[in-house]
Amino acid sequence: MDRIAGQTGYLILNEEGAVVSSAGDLENDEKTAETIMGLVNITSMVDQKAFGSDESFKKISLTYENHCYIICLSNRRIHVVKKNLDKLAVNA
């Protein structure tokens, strides 16, 4: 996987949650893989009124104070990237 700016780790999972490849902070991180799978499998529909029954999401991101995780599904693999954020904390 190409290096993304600020990337500190990545995980690639298959549809069943098994780790296909990982690196950096997320190397062999089964716990994170499990949580991510849990998150992704919660539901296929969040709010029918707001998003409609056929609208699904391209990405899920979890933003902490100075880092974040971005999750997306591509070619039947779940990609997770952990990267640093320096801009957010500054604009208080």
Partner: protein, 89 residues
């Protein structure tokens, strides 16, 4: 006693591009809803926040964004309450 929450929800909806918001309590029951949002989603919102908080149990709750083609759903937990704001991109 729900007026303060009503006021907050009004303020949220008066923001540009925001079209809905939902608030759930620690059990996933709906505390308030405004705009194009449904009370039933409170459970799911709560569940998503709960699951996401397991990623980094020692950090403050993250801001979760579910992004679709032209809309986003921003979820955050604060204390016992979880809020979701629906916004156009």
């Amino acid at each position: 006693m729900e007026k303060p929450l009503e006021r907050v929800m009004e303020e949220i909806l008066n923001t540009t591009d925001v079209f809905g918001c939902v608030f759930a309590d620690h059990q996933g029951l709906c505390l308030g809803v405004k705009g194009r949002a449904s009370t039933e989603s409170a459970g799911v919102i709560g569940a998503i926040a709960e699951e996401a908080s397991k990623l980094e149990p020692n950090s403050r709750p993250p801001v979760i964004v579910l992004e679709s083609e032209n809309k986003m759903c921003i979820i955050q937990r604060n204390g016992t309450i979880t809020g979701a704001i629906y916004k156009l991109i």
